[in-house]
């Protein structure tokens, strides 16, 4: 095992993680809502949710969309580069959308919220997506 110390940012990552926790706690404390992002996005696509519920989802998503702008007021603006070609971007998006909805959660809903509540379901889900993510990267980086 070879650790990439040049790009290792434990403190920034820890601090970012604490902010995620603060956001999750705020949402749950005031509204009893779990900050699972795939669920929040999907609530806009389902007919069963009330308009009020959808409006709240939109407010949260708006905060997320504007976060790069808010961040740029205090620090160097982020410059995202997606290196994979368009075909993989489309395929990846489809799989992430389909998979997270089928599993009723993603990195936030299962990986953080669920694991924090010691949910067996979420721990299993997290192990599954970590494992398949690691295998996928292994195939691309070391086999192909």
């Amino acid at each position: 095992m070879n650790i990439d110390f040049a790009n290792f940012t434990p403190l920034a990552s820890l601090f970012g993680g604490l902010l995620l926790g603060i956001s999750i706690i705020t949402l749950h404390f005031f509204f009893k809502r779990i900050a699972g992002i795939s669920g929040i996005i999907n609530s806009l696509l389902t007919k069963t949710e009330t308009n009020d519920y959808k409006f709240n989802s939109i407010l949260f998503i708006l905060g997320l969309v504007l976060s790069p702008l808010i961040y740029s007021l205090f620090a160097t603006p982020i410059n995202v580069s997606i290196e994979k070609n368009f075909l993989f971007v489309v395929l990846g998006g489809l799989l992430v959308g389909f998979g997270t909805t089928l599993a009723s959660g993603c990195t936030s809903g299962h990986g953080v919220c669920g694991v924090s509540r010691f949910s067996i379901r979420s721990i299993i889900a997290t192990l599954c997506f970590m494992f398949s993510g690691i295998v996928t990267v292994f195939i691309f980086n070391h086999l192909l």
């Binding site: 990552s13 993680g17 999750i24 997320l64 976060s67 997606i82 990846g92 599993a103 067996i120 889900a125």
Partner: protein
């Protein structure tokens, strides 16, 4: 007026993703590449987020009661992981990347919505 907290939570979440490195696809792919030049930083995101959230859930005594492990959970999570490993973006960062006005990010987000839509249609 209380609803503004939804917006504020979303912004804090987004800034947290940016600072932590979760919204940087290259960092995510490097985190998943445990057999290559491994960048373990994102483990610290989990540690930071889970520690504070777990304390909160313990204080308010909110424990998970659902125990059922079904095929949907296993298959869905595994499919999600493949997509995550392909591009390095999960749903939260997908919205952040959308806000950074990246063309591939926009395409990824549209594909993600189509994936969700198809799942809602196909799986009963």
């Amino acid at each position: 007026m209380k609803k503004i907290l939804y917006f504020i939570s979303g912004s804090i979440f987004g800034v947290g993703l940016i600072i932590s490195g979760m919204s940087n696809p290259q960092k995510v792919l490097s985190f998943l590449d445990i057999f290559g030049n491994w960048d373990p930083s994102l483990m610290f995101v989990m540690i930071g987020a889970i520690s504070i959230t777990a304390i909160y859930f313990m204080i308010i005594k909110n424990k998970s009661t659902k125990l059922s492990i079904d095929k949907k959970l296993i298959v869905g999570s595994s499919i999600f992981g493949i997509g995550w490993g392909l591009v390095g973006i999960c749903p939260g960062p997908a919205i952040v990347v959308l806000g950074s006005a990246n063309i591939k990010g926009v395409i990824f987000f549209i594909a993600l919505l189509i994936g969700m839509f198809l799942q809602n249609k196909i799986v009963k």
